[in-house]
């Protein structure tokens, strides 16, 4: 058994002196715990009690205050990011949706309520948000467990490590849960090594003796591949190698991913991965910013002479006189309500699938949530007006 349990519980190590009284920290930041025992580097990453080694050493009050302050600041910056990024994104999206026109943006601001905006954002960005959180927590835990073993490890820790430390376990668990229900099934296996890394779950946790451990792992793998074998076979037939890799490799990686990294790779890994993850997130955020806030519709407009015209766009608002439509190709159109002959909801081309694979009739690009939704309301034929 490794020292994970001891660190996770936050029990003070009897070998360590009792910490001196310290300044209060914000409620979000947990109380500092004593440093894990040497060799217990694989201690649980969701240990709420983020170890602040300096804080546990008496006679270093200045450093301890610094550490507490840093933690408080990290906590603040983390929560600011969690709340602020969606809010800023939502407003930015309005500008993009309006086609960069000031007056159109103002029209949208006037008609799209903050709750609608935030709900719309969460609907389209839940996947990105959970990906960001999962990446931060998994990498943070991997770096943290390795960082603690470095000589002079009490110096300033990488950003992700600090974030992972100050985050309560329930929030980490909730992030993984959100990823579980919002990620496309195709990418879901990646959640397995990420989860194991974030909570540093080594196979030794399954059973103390090797043989039962091997049997348990064997049974888990058998179940996993029984579930996915038809899909993997189908992917092989279609030559979809990425899908095969994504289904087969992550569970194997999950077996080895927990544990400290060699000292030589930690520092470069810390800086490179953090920058890479942040860059990837910005790159992934661009399409989210340009995802429409309002649903796409086709409105059939008649001019009274029998001729009709289809207006493709997003309905901003409807009052007694006009229906205001933000056209797909730009520009706002005010259509008199009595000229509206019909209206249909249309899918957008971004929703077209990239793969032709299914896992027991669930499309691999659907998340669990979407897949379940499709079972509740099986899709109807695409309306002719949408073509």
């Amino acid at each position: 058994m490794n020292g994970a349990a001891a660190t996770a519980t936050g029990d003070p190590d009897p070998g360590q002196p009792v910490p001196a009284p310290r300044d209060p920290v914000p409620p979000a930041s947990p109380a500092p715990a004593p440093e894990p025992a040497p060799g217990s580097a694989s201690g649980s990453a969701f240990a709420v009690s983020g170890p602040l080694p300096a804080a546990a050493v008496p006679g270093r009050d200045g450093m301890r205050d610094d550490a507490a302050e840093r933690q408080a600041r990290a906590s603040q910056s983390f929560w600011t990011a969690v709340v602020g990024v969606p809010a800023i994104f939502s407003v930015l999206r309005l500008g993009v949706e309006a086609g960069g026109e000031l007056q159109t943006t103002l029209l949208l601001v006037a008609n799209v309520g903050p709750i609608n905006l935030l709900a719309g954002f969460l609907t389209t960005a839940a996947q990105l948000l959970s990906t960001a959180l999962v990446a931060v927590f998994a990498l943070g835990a991997v770096l943290r467990v390795s960082w603690d073993r470095l000589p002079g490890h009490d110096r300033r820790r990488p950003l992700f490590v600090r974030w992972a430390e100050i985050t309560p376990a329930w929030f980490v668990a909730a992030s993984f849960l959100m990823a579980l229900i919002t990620w496309p099934l195709l990418y879901l296996p990646l959640l397995l090594p990420a989860f194991v890394a974030a909570f540093q779950l080594r196979p030794e946790r399954l059973h103390e003796r090797p043989w039962p451990r091997v049997l348990i792992i064997g049974a888990l793998f058998a179940g996993y591949f029984w579930l996915l074998l038809p899909t993997v076979r189908d992917a092989g037939r279609q030559g979809d190698w990425l899908a095969i890799l994504l289904f087969v490799v992550p569970p194997v990686l999950a077996l080895a991913i927990a544990g400290p990294l060699p000292g030589a790779v930690i520092r470069p890994l810390a800086s490179v991965t953090q920058i890479a993850v942040l860059a990837m997130l910005v790159w992934a955020a661009l399409p989210v910013i340009s995802t429409p806030v309002l649903p796409l519709t086709v409105t059939t407009v008649g001019d009274g002479t029998g001729a009709t015209e289809d207006v493709r766009g997003h309905v901003v608002t409807t009052d007694d006189v006009n229906m205001v439509i933000l056209q797909e190709r730009g520009g706002v159109r005010y259509v008199p309500v009595d000229q509206v002959r019909g209206q249909v909801l249309c899918p957008s081309e971004e929703e077209l699938p990239r793969h032709r694979l299914r896992i027991h009739d669930y499309h691999v690009e659907d998340s669990l949530l979407e897949g379940l939704g499709r079972r509740v309301r099986p899709v109807h034929r695409i309306d002719a007006a949408c073509r």
Binding site: A135, V142, P184, L186, Y187, L190, P193, A194, A197, L242, L245, L246, V249, P250, L253, A254, L255, A256, I257, A258, G259, P260, L261, P262, V265, L269, T273, A276, M280, W283, A284, P287, T308, P347, E349, E351, L352, P353, R354, R356, R358, D361, Y362, H363, E365, D366, E370, R374, R375, P378, V379, R381, I382, D383, A384, A385, C386, R387
Partner: protein, 313 residues
């Protein structure tokens, strides 16, 4: 002790590898989620086809083939017309304002497509190798056989192919049809007119003694004059595959029509009521001697569409 150090070294190398591979896979997944779909989509094919942006779709249909294509009271009805409406709606042309039915006779079907008079032909158009050199086909959407229909006055005289060769009987068929070629192959001299309807009218007026054509077309006339005619089952030995005619220069449109016919076929196979089945039940179904099913369309392209993620069961 040394073993322990070696073990932990192996372990940390394994962990490094696992972390690196996970990051690589995550990056690959990220790129995959951002890339354009590789499979052609219905929308893409639509943009490639010549009908893209057209306000209406012009479809060539028969107007004098009962059950298949006719115009009682100014409204186009029949099995072919229903299939044409389904394809038009799938292509984005729903409702009679968006679809323009153009009357084409049997021999005009190919020139109408070649000359751009119509965008599609759905008019008992048999798929043959010769025709494939001039127009493209999507389908088949129906398999029929060649039959002979005789007036009740001849129902005991004309029973075999040999009887048809008897020069005392005047056999009629429509020009430019596969039946014409088939009769020639059996050394049967036939009088060729414009449409099967003309043959039927001729028989009723006593000018001809029998008419040969597809079972579907003959069933239509039998439905119109049930007491005057009878269909005689003759072993011509060929089956006619009816397809939707598309201009040869528009493979995208052919692919789309084939895709939507296949969609209906798949619906029927999974036990749902397919558009084909509805059309069949409303028109031909009650008049054919044997129950028919939608044949599997050939050369169906793999396209993606918005409803591809829908559950299949």
């Amino acid at each position: 002790m040394n073993e322990h150090i070696a073990g932990s070294r192996v372990r940390s190398v394994a962990t490094t590898l696992a972390v690196a591979l996970t990051l690589t896979l995550a990056a690959a997944a990220g790129c995959d989620s951002r890339k354009e779909p590789q499979l052609p989509s219905v929308q893409e094919k639509l943009r490639e086809s010549h009908i893209y942006g057209q306000p209406t779709l012009r479809i060539g249909v028969a107007t004098n083939e009962p059950l298949m294509g006719e115009v009682p009271n100014g409204v186009h009805v029949g099995f072919d017309v229903e299939i044409a409406r389904y394809i038009a709606a799938s292509l984005g042309y729903e409702g009679d304002q968006r679809v323009e039915f153009v009357s084409v006779s049997t021999e005009d079907r190919i020139p109408a497509l070649q000359g751009g008079v119509v965008d599609l032909v759905v008019s008992s158009f048999s798929i043959t190798e010769e025709r494939k050199k001039l127009v493209s086909f999507a389908g088949p959407y129906f398999v029929t056989t060649q039959e002979v229909m005789v007036p009740t006055r001849h129902k005991d005289d004309i029973r075999t192919i040999e009887d048809l060769r008897d020069p005392t009987y005047k056999i009629c068929t429509s020009g430019g049809s596969t039946t014409e070629a088939e009769l020639e192959k059996h050394q049967i001299k036939a009088l060729v007119v414009k449409n099967v309807g003309d043959c039927v009218e001729g028989i009723r007026q006593g000018r001809y003694d029998a008419v040969s054509s597809d079972e579907t077309i003959l069933a239509g006339f039998l439905a119109r004059f049930p007491t005057e005619f009878e269909i005689v089952d003759m072993p011509f030995g060929t089956s006619e595959l009816l397809g939707v005619g598309v201009p040869i220069g528009d493979p995208a449109l052919r692919d789309l029509v084939a895709y939507f016919l296949d969609k209906s076929y798949q619906q029927g196979r999974s036990g749902e009521t397919s558009p084909w089945q509805t059309a069949y039940n409303r028109t031909l179904g009650p008049w054919l001697r044997a129950e028919k099913r939608q044949p599997q369309p050939l050369d169906v392209p793999k396209l993606v569409d918005f409803d591809d993620k829908a559950p299949r069961r």
